[in-house]
Symmetry: C2
Subunit: 126 residues, 2 copies
DNA sequence: GCAATGCTACTACATATGTAGTAGTAATAC
DNA sequence: GTATTACTACTACATATGTAGTAGCATTGC
């Protein structure tokens, strides 16, 4: 029932749908960089699986092809991934933060931004 | 032949080894809370797989049982998980940070701490 | 020494995921 | 209206992971 955990390929497909609003299998496939573009049927199979998980739905049929759209938001999907990662860390965010910083991929600006967001949240909750 | 990505159960087993230094299958199994303790052979199978991945190794045999120890550090293993998550986000940390904050699991203190760490790093790199 | 117990090594199986082939039907191009 | 092309629906298969059973050898307790 809840939000399904999406895999790498599934997320890439969802990304195409979140960006385009809606798309056909072919359009999704062509959204992949030519060099690492899976076969048409690979995308198709994965879209069908996403459909089974209720993460995408068919919106209409145009000509002989179907058009799909995301049925879960990017936020929800991303949140699920992060919650699952956190679970692997026993729910502790500290090591996650530490590694993000250590990886050199978080800038001071990101932190500042985060801090601002956090202050806003705190104010709203009071 | 980089560091393998470890799964949920694998991480739980590694956690036991990182905590105890070294342990037998039975000891690892008993480190699980009674209510969600997998069968002995489930732990065994998973330890064997970790061995195949070179994430653990046998250190000795005591009586008729083997004693295992971690062959990769907690840091390395955690780092791998985070790098893989980041890859799902196209390498952008911003959404990860945003979700961590939104989840309410990161406190302002965590951010302050992170900021301090980051400032230190920047200084060192100059 | 022999029976009980415990551990190992191996096998088995279900689900998830990445990957893609094939058969057949539907749209299209003339 | 027929040949080509494109898409769908289905099948197949390998690897990863969680899960656990079984057969048999090693230890141990007497």
């Amino acid at each position: 029932m809840g939000n399904p955990k999406l895999s790498r390929l599934e997320m890439q497909i969802m990304e195409a749908l979140w960006n385009c609003g809606s798309a056909s299998i072919r359009e999704i496939q062509e959204s992949f960089p030519e060099k690492k573009r899976p076969a048409y049927t690979t995308i198709q199979t994965t879209v069908y699986r996403l459909e089974a998980k209720k993460a995408v739905r068919r919106v209409k049929k145009v000509g002989n092809f179907h058009v799909f759209e995301a049925a879960v938001s990017r936020d929800i999907a991303q949140r699920k991934l992060i919650d699952d990662l956190l679970a692997l860390f026993g729910g502790r965010t500290q090591p996650v933060m530490a590694h993000l910083i250590e990886s050199g991929k978080v800038t001071l600006a990101d932190i500042k931004e985060a801090e601002k967001t956090l202050r806003h949240l705190e104010r709203e909750e009071k």
